[in-house]
């Protein structure tokens, strides 16, 4: 004969056993004794009444916890607290990076000069391309600003609201621009980032 398992005995003590289990307990002295023992132990444990501090204690404790929480500092993720305000900055940063990577791929000779078929040497488009390629991100205050602002934004959070482009999407869009569009993009980027000496293209027509 199979006796009841511990969880079945607990079910009987709780009054939620199945009819088959309850029927077994009714006819089995051993299992019924276990149920009685369990209920007796539960009564013993429950005889120790709950500690109840003074009602005055709760506001005091709440205030104390509130102070401790505020001492913790504001740990809400930057992305949530800034919300969409970060989106334009992030999008600009992504575009600048994609521009550089895309153009390097387009010219096919990374770091070997600016061989843009549609952009004559010294033209504004050429200047913009130099701007995009020659700036070292680590030395660029704008890049550092974007890096610092986005330091606590992980990819998962940025992707959820669509702040990240689809893989290859920016490159594809960039490659579809004609010369005039690239010049306009370069002009916009230069306005956004600000013209500085280190960004000025070299050579005639600069």
């Amino acid at each position: 004969m199979t006796h009841l398992s511990p969880d079945q005995i607990v079910d009987i003590a709780d009054g939620c056993a199945t009819s088959a289990v309850a029927a077994h307990a009714a006819g089995c002295e051993s299992c019924r004794a276990k149920v009685e023992s369990l209920l007796d132990a539960a009564r013993l444990a429950g005889s120790d009444r709950q500690h109840e501090p003074s009602p005055l204690f709760w506001p005091h404790l709440a205030a104390r916890i509130g102070e401790a929480v505020r001492r913790e500092g504001f740990r809400v993720p930057l992305w949530r607290s800034w919300g969409w305000r970060l989106a334009p900055i992030g999008a600009t940063a992504v575009l600048v990076i994609a521009l550089g990577v895309g153009l390097r791929m387009w010219t096919g000779t990374p770091g070997s000069g600016l061989l843009v078929p549609d952009a004559p040497a010294g033209s504004p488009a050429q200047a913009a391309l130099e701007l995009a390629l020659d700036v070292e991100p680590a030395d660029d205050p704008s890049w550092r600003l974007v890096s610092e602002l986005s330091a606590e934004v992980d990819a998962e959070e940025a992707e959820a609201p669509g702040a990240l482009p689809q893989p290859g999407g920016t490159d594809k869009a960039l490659l579809q621009l004609d010369a005039a569009e690239r010049m306009e993009l370069a002009r916009i980027l230069r306005e956004e980032i600000g013209t500085r000496d280190t960004f000025m293209p070299q050579g005639p027509g600069a």
């Binding site: 500690h51 709440a62 916890i65």
Partner: protein
Amino acid sequence: MSTRAEAWPAGGTQPDWTLTVVPSTQDESGRTSPLSQLDDRGLVEVCLGGRVDAFDVIVERHQRAVYQLCFRFVHRHEDAADLTQEVFLRAYRGLRRFRGDATLTTWLYRIGVNVCLNQVSGRRAQETPLDHAPNIPAAGDDPASSFVRAREGARVRAAVARLPRKQRATLILRVYQDLSHREIALALGTTVGAVKANFFHALGNLKKLLADEAIEKP
């Protein structure tokens, strides 16, 4: 709006005066803050949006349950208050991880059990001295019966403190915090079957410990 404090235990001595506690979710004119109208999930969202005062409402709602849980592990008012603060600090730090699969209460219990077990692990289970016995004399209790009740309570607490960790946590959550087996399973990160088995063995061990102690100290 004010709330009449209902903190005295059933059967406990009821004072002949009444105390009105005004929670901090009310402003000075007595109006209820809109935050207090939100449910727990709403408060979590608002808090994650940057409003720390939403967490104050969470604390006011749950501090009593968390404190009672902590007290069951340490049996000292000051230690229980410290642990309660630690539980809420951890909850605040990890609020983003609250997914809403369980209730906020269950989630807080889960943090509370971990904090308490870490705190008491390594400590030798000790009997609560009678002068720390926290029970308020019940109405009509004479001093002798109060003393007997306090001594019995201390014996039970000492026996509970000697139970294995999971059995102890299960028994506390079931008997003193009145959680269902399912809620306990969520709080302890285990299955309902394991909770029932732990509860069964916890009560069996408790009875044995109390019987052994009665033999040792007749």
